[in-house]
Assembly symmetry: C2
Homo-oligomer: 1006 residues x 2
């Protein structure tokens, strides 16, 4: 019969053939009132949940399933099923059940001769076997809720029923029972040492001997009564020892599939049993999991392969989420068959000419959730799902403008306070240790390098590379305070590039204008702190909401580039610091020397007329000229005493530059390689993860070791041994008054404003990146709370003449990455799920305490060569760059279209628009980079704001659809609503004409 | 109805439902006389062809197909089909057909908004759509062999037929015709520059404007008569310019699928048309390929997705090898439906819970051949296939023992002679250039390094690193002769490690016993040459046949290890040659110098009593003592004139060792990286292949450039400027008589025997590796012919005092690799097939001519630093190691079982046996390596023979089944037959009991 639409549903015709009692034919494509499609049936799996109409029209199989599944959904979720398939094998002359495959979610097969488990793979079935299985269930015995306590009793019950139904003659009872109660041999790994013991015995010899024994046993066995079966009632030690158990969820139950061919049957013996209680049936299952389902298929000789395929089909069905629900709740045979029909409706078909069935398909990274499939039958769940799917993410809510004084701040505190205790106890985890070590190394590298740069930039007013103690102490102090009290303790405070640039420019300005730098800086700090408090009080952080991926990426790539360029600059610098004598000829080694010659005596004796008084230096030289042995002086001493260095080798330092390069490049390469090691095939997963987590540490250790081994005097971390202010003319605290005129105190408001913008942007962009929804943070964020602490710390640091600290993007991302949690026990083949980040304050605090303690680690730290640290620096820059979409898009430019990865935005935005967007971003960054290098760098913070303006202008170049894909517009409720309305009116218009826009933008924007 | 077996075939019940005229039900599992299974039906695709019984029992659908396909199989192969699917789209208010997907073999979809082709992927269909398609073909119009010359006429015919059949009313004629003749818009790439022109226009603005225009055009269009359709009869320029054409085979024909929803239909309008002649129907198809098939599906509004799926289903069917055959040869509707049923029988089903249908499945590397599927219907092909599948490969035949004098040699010549002309003209290909360059570089590196080692080993009797001219000339001479006349011109002759070791030991022996080395060597060469001739005459090469993978791998890994260890030794050596002063303190540069002091004068003036006559050196020193400026002397001069070097820096050479290391490691790393670049996603495939092919050359150039840029005096290739024998006491030719007693001439027979074994093994193992069946060589091999030339060249080289040359395994493999051919025009997504190797003599000859000419390239070559060459050396060793199974198995040891790749032997051999085999191999190699380093190295060739003995002993540890998988036993007819017999008897025994061994070893061994 044809429906009005002219199409059959396969479900419909299946029903048509097999169950004559239900003769109705249902049209499957029906429209609801709104004119939308009912797409609940087969073959159309990419309908979005939201597009489901309220009134579903379903087939009778689905109707049946809805009835049995829909009722008690909330009361009891069905347990996970572990399925084991055993086949009847002739081992010597003895029959036994040998495990041939198992399923937790995916199939694992016992390799024919390999005595090993295959990799978990997607079960590829043949349509044939599914139909055969369907016939089996229709004709065979189905026993639901059988009271079973032991295998022999169950087997008896099955056979009894078959005899009752006239399917087998009573004369077969003993034979079938004998076969079904044979011993089960499971696939367990033989340890290597046992196999070495086998060495002496030749393969064939062993099997012959065992055949002899087993024949003997077999005859002996037959002589005994049939109660002497091989099945014990208690789990064996093999079962209990099986390590596979940890891959199976605790509440799991087993379903056992037994298939085999025997010589005494003329037609198949089929039984499907569901026990009323899950029962451990001795050695039936490989693991000590109680059995709930039993499927038996014995058939005449000659069709082992076909039986095997049917067994695989039922096993695959049993682990299917939907069918296992059906199996648990089925009331009769028809329910099971409806389950198969529903399964058939949803199967995915690969054409035989395009795929080789022998290929084992690797489990996919993500599988459509079973809930979505079930929801078709379960209408009450639908609304719920819609609710959660429509959630706009936490960002919008937390950045809402309250309009009250300090409204946001109070909300932040209110939000974070309940989590405060858990922020500590959740930190106790082994993973924290590696995170602390990693971030600690990043922090001190950062502190040392930025400290050094800052010292260079400000003539050591603040800190100096050679006296990094105060940097360490400052970092430790600020970081600990922030981690203890901030809203987002995952953020790591540090000196950052933009601040450095600002300070450098400020110092030059004050030096040129005769203003005392430290006092000016103190006042800027105070002003800035007050401004921060003002911003917090006004809930100003809400504007962050308008920041899109474009701005974020621009900022964070810029920071990454600063990291990379600093590392390379430093490395190139060492080639200048240790120049290589490229003209050196080994044979003419005799020509190279560097001698310290005494100063020109004539010059000394006859000082020039205008310099009548001798300079102190000349005086020393004069005194030394006759007393010193000039040839014994070192280079520095020679210069100090006014001598001159003469010789071809004076300008050059051998080996050190090249050695530095080897250390630098080696550290970088090794870190990258070890990081990637997580994805290699070697060694167990845990070890690989450990190596990957500690890659930076291991690389540092390796190259420190190499450096010590070779023993060259590469530039090392110079660690102070005494604790004192950097410059003698600088005390412990900066005094606020006295050195500058009074108006400077007020005028410093203006540069303070720039600093405030800078700090605000730097801090909040990092926070936005950390709080990205990909990170699945649960404890909420605290933009206002963060900002107030940054403000306070700024004032404090200014008083002590320490650098200013603000959220460090790169290190904060690294912190998040090192604390990511993944689900542990997943079915074999299933990808571990990313669960979220270990949100706590402990790691941050420990990092900064360690940083503070580092001043006592001086004896150890002084072995670390600087090039090794530069290598780590380069790695951090590159690693943080590789995580952002912008970088992916840059790489796309160099790829031919056909090799490009399947990014979702590429499916929806024309490639040339993607490239255009990327190019515009590159241009913006290039301009920023150039500006950063000029005197305009002082308005750098304002330029970041400028990025937001440019982004706004992009609205004119790109359509909202393209931007939605490329720029991940943050949810903004009003705008969204407005757009929705616009879309809806548009859609209605279109629907009148064709309504062919089911994959419309609205789904994306929503 | 149930068959006696209790199972339905899906084909059976499909037929049962849909075609009531054929009511028969067929049992699908029937046994033939031998008791074997008839496995020709569904779901059981891994039956081997050989196991097919002669009498097939098939279903009526298959019967039907066999009838139509079986008849004229040989007369006319059907053309390849290109399928394009166009969907009806509303562009503005105008209707148009928009290309939405295409198939050559795999599906390429037009991404929704991306305006791009998706990657080719396997079409995943739903069972639903296939059943719907089946209904479509049953109810719709099927026009076979329609005389069609233009689209309007075809459309008219279809509509006419539909009206005749009463499927549509005549009032729909114009509307349907109008819709079907709308313009076809194909997906063609917009160039980037055009998109930049779009920049100014905002996305939404453009579309609104175009909507306005199109509405205007639409109304205009409607006003015109229906003959004003958008279809032209001649191919458009867009079609002709389409570059996709080169992906489609020449003889291809198109099938067009048109699906769409319209508002005026109440039930679907379906038509399947086959034209009697393929005709170009204007702009219907994206490429100028004539259309043969047309599938039209128009239906009521609201089911676009369903229609789309049906369209995809028919398109996928059309590119299926089997169904397209059916479509070409179908006599009526029923044939087509039988084709679908057959297709359904073979589909592969993925369970919905284990796979996400949204994932695009990458095309597999290998697809089961269509012939195998067709053969079910085509019995006469079966025997043929069996014949080719059973072929034992060329190796066995060519190494057969003829028993006649020089029998093998004559056969070799007979076999190679017909190919001789093609050996030259087939070399003219662009690929040859890169091969020549690559191998040339490998050759000179090899020549220089082994030449250097040989010179060191024999006190420069033969060649010296500093005078490598003779090495080059010798290599050129021997190589050219061999490439011109040998049996396997792909083999590259060179000095090899084993020969080097032998010569070294021989030299030490003769020095210690006062025998003239060069004369002894000449006699050994003569003896060895005679012995080689004897071996050739006796067809002795046939024993190579008994050499298994075990021996091959042992030998070639040993050679690889020698390469690697030599490269590293040389590198470490440069740290000794240029010692680094690790105590250097930059500040104390003044303390480092190296002065040349004049010799002790007292000693000179008062020579000791026993040395009354002054030695010549002392005399010079004495003379110079007063005339020379000792401080101006170079290191060498100082030593020469008897001065002594005093100073801290004398022993050290700065920078050179580290620079050497950077060059060495950099060259290696860069080569590896560039080689891998072939598999990256960047740049077009051709460019990537080019970069990969020239990776060694590019690395060498880069690091030579870097070296020149830095300008350090790293050790360079020292190139001679004059042409003379190495030592003054050695003439151009070695004289055979005069320096040694007569018995030495005879006794040298014994060492010659060792050399002969060595040469024989070295040469023939390399030849076996080159001739491996994986390489698909077509021109046969010539083991005997090769050996005779090696023998002749040995004698010639001995006369001239040049090194002995023999096949170099590593370079020969590299030669083969660089000449591999792959199929060029393959369907998108299809893996290019490895076609074979460009077998010719030209590349080899050119390599050696270039090597000879290299002595004139001296000015260029002298810029190449030695460490760069060592890096290339290291790469060659590592690369040749990574190609062998032994190395794969070593890596397996470090992998947990679940991460191991899916090697076929792992599926069949227990892991511990695999590890055991690997460990035994490692032990053998370790023993060989140790022996090689002791005085026993002289019997090294005998040890390689020993490997064969050890392999024989492995038969006692491993079963033949395991060895068949791990050790690739070469076909040996008698043995095979015997085993087959044994297996058969065994099998018969087993069959009596269970017969469950269908995947038995016999298939493997056969």
């Amino acid at each position: 019969k044809l429906t009005s639409m002219g199409f059959y549903s396969p479900r419909v015709f299946l029903r048509h053939i097999f169950s004559s009692q239900e003769a109705g034919v249902w049209p499957i494509w029906m429209e609801d009132e709104t004119g939308r499609l009912d797409q609940t049936v087969v073959g159309n799996k990419d309908f979005s949940v939201t597009s489901l109409p309220v009134h579903l029209t379903v087939s009778p199989a689905a109707e049946r399933l809805r009835y049995i599944l829909g009722d008690d959904e909330e009361t009891m979720p069905t347990p996970t099923l572990f399925t084991e398939m055993d086949t009847l094998q002739q081992e010597g002359d003895e029959l036994e059940w040998k495990e041939s495959a198992r399923w937790v979610k995916f199939e694992e097969k016992v390799e024919e001769g390999g005595e090993r488990w295959s990799k978990p793979h997607v079960s590829t079935l043949s349509l044939h076997s599914l139909f055969e299985l369907r016939t089996c269930l229709q004709t065979g015995t189905v026993l639901l809720d059988l009271e079973g306590y032991s295998l022999p009793q169950i087997v008896d019950d099955i056979i009894e029923r078959q005899i009752e139904e006239g399917l087998i003659g009573p004369e077969l009872r003993d034979k079938i029972s004998f076969v079904l109660l044979r011993k089960h041999r499971h696939q367990t790994k033989k340890p290597i040492h046992r196999s070495l013991a086998d060495l002496g015995k030749s393969g064939s010899g062993v099997s012959e001997w065992s055949i002899f024994i087993s024949i003997h046993l077999y005859t002996h066995c037959l002589a005994q009564s049939r109660s002497m079966n091989d099945i014990a009632d208690t789990p064996s030690t093999d079962q209990l020892k099986n390590k596979f158990m940890k891959k199976i969820p605790r509440d799991a139950e087993a379903s056992n599939v037994l298939v085999g061919e025997v010589d005494f049957l003329e037609k198949p013996f089929v039984a499907f049993v569901r026990l009323s209680q899950a029962t451990t049936l001795g050695g039936l299952t490989e693991v000590p999991v109680p059995t709930r389902f039993l499927f038996v298929l014995l058939g005449p000789l000659g069709k082992a392969k076909s039986y095997n395929e049917i067994g695989r089909a039922i096993a695959t069905l049993m682990v299917d989420d939907l069918f296992s629900d059906v199996a648990y709740k089925a009331r009769d045979r028809e329910d099971l068959i409806a389950g198969i029909d529903e399964f058939l409706d949803e199967v995915i078909v690969l054409p035989p000419g395009e795929w080789d069935p022998k290929i084992r398909i690797e489990p996919p990274k993500k599988i459509p959730s079973a809930d979505q499939r079930k929801s078709v039958f379960n209408l009450n769940e639908l609304g719920q799902m819609n609710g959660t799917a429509g959630g706009g993410g936490p960002l919008g809510e937390e950045l809402a403008y309250t309009g009250r004084f300090c409204g946001g701040l109070f909300l932040d505190i209110k939000r974070k306070l309940p989590w405060y205790p858990s922020d500590f106890y959740e930190g106790f985890h082994i993973q924290s240790i590696s995170a602390v070590l990693f971030i600690y190394l990043g922090c001190i590298t950062n502190a040392i390098t930025f400290g050094g740069l800052l010292g260079d930039a400000t003539d050591n007013y603040q800190v100096h590379l050679a006296n990094f103690m105060s940097t360490f102490l400052g970092t430790a102090l600020a970081g600990t305070v922030f981690c203890l009290f901030s809203g987002q303790p995952l953020i790591i405070l540090s000196s950052t590039g933009p601040i450095l640039i600002f300070e450098k420019l400020l110092y030059e300005f004050s030096k040129n204008n005769g203003i005392d730098y430290m006092e000016l800086r103190l006042w800027i700090g105070i002003h800035s702190c007050v401004q921060c408090l003002f911003l917090v009080a006004m809930d100003a952080s809400y504007i962050i909401k308008y920041m899109t991926r474009f701005t974020e990426e621009g900022f964070s790539s810029l920071i990454s580039f600063i990291f990379i360029s600093d590392a390379i600059k430093k490395m190139v610098g060492s080639f200048k610091y240790y120049p290589i004598n490229t003209d050196f000829k080994p044979d003419y080694v005799t020509a190279y020397k560097c001698e310290c010659l005494a100063p020109d005596t004539i010059n000394l004796v006859h000082p020039k007329a205008e310099n009548s008084a001798l300079s102190s230096q000349e005086l020393i030289a004069f005194e030394n000229y006759f007393t010193l042995d000039w040839t014994q002086l070192s280079k520095k001493e020679c210069v100090k005493y006014g001598g001159s260095l003469v010789g071809k080798s004076c300008k050059y330092v051998p080996d050190l530059a090249l050695m530095s390069f080897i250390l630098f490049f080696g550290t970088y390469t090794m870190t990258v390689t070890l990081k990637k090691f997580k994805f290699s095939r070697y060694f167990p997963t845990k070890l690989r993860k450990l190596i990957s987590d500690f890659s930076i540490f291991m690389s540092i250790m390796t190259f420190v070791g190499l450096d010590m081994l070779i023993g060259l005097q590469t530039p090392k971390l110079i660690v102070p041994t005494e604790f004192k202010p950097t410059r003698a003319d600088r005390g412990w605290f900066v005094m606020p008054f006295g050195k500058n005129p009074w108006w400077v105190y007020l005028a410093s408001f203006v540069p303070a404003l720039l600093v405030t913008i800078l700090i605000f942007m730097d801090q909040q962009i990092s926070a936005v990146i950390v709080n990205r929804k990909e990170n699945k943070l649960k404890k909420g964020c605290g933009y206002h709370l963060d900002l107030i602490w940054v403000g306070f710390l700024m004032a404090a640091c200014s008083f002590m003449g320490l650098p200013w600290y603000v959220a460090a993007t790169v290190i904060s991302i690294a912190h998040i990455d090192s604390l990511k949690m993944e689900s542990e026990s997943s079915a074999p083949g299933e990808q571990p799920q990313f669960l979220g980040v270990r949100e706590q304050r402990l790691t941050g605090i420990l990092v900064f305490v360690l940083t503070g303690v580092s001043i006592f680690l001086a004896p150890i730290l002084q072995f670390i060569p600087m090039p090794v640290l530069y290598g780590v620096f380069l790695y951090m820059g590159v690693a943080s760059l590789s995580g952002i979409q912008f970088w992916d898009r840059i790489k796309l430019i160099m790829m031919p279209a056909k090799h490009q990865p399947d990014f979702s935005y590429l499916r929806h935005v024309p490639l040339r628009r993607v490239h255009l967007f990327t190019l515009l971003q590159i241009v913006c960054l290039a301009v920023l980079w150039i500006l950063k290098s000029t005197f305009l760098a002082i308005i750098f913070p304002v330029m970041i704001l400028g990025l937001m303006v440019i982004r706004k202008m992009l609205d004119m170049v790109f359509s909202q659809h393209d931007l939605a894909w490329l720029d991940d517009i943050l949810p903004e409720k009003e705008k969204k609503k407005k757009e929705d309305e616009k879309k809806n009116t548009k859609k209605e218009k279109k629907k009148g004409k064709g309504g062919n826009d089911s994959e419309d933008v609205s789904v994306l924007v929503a």
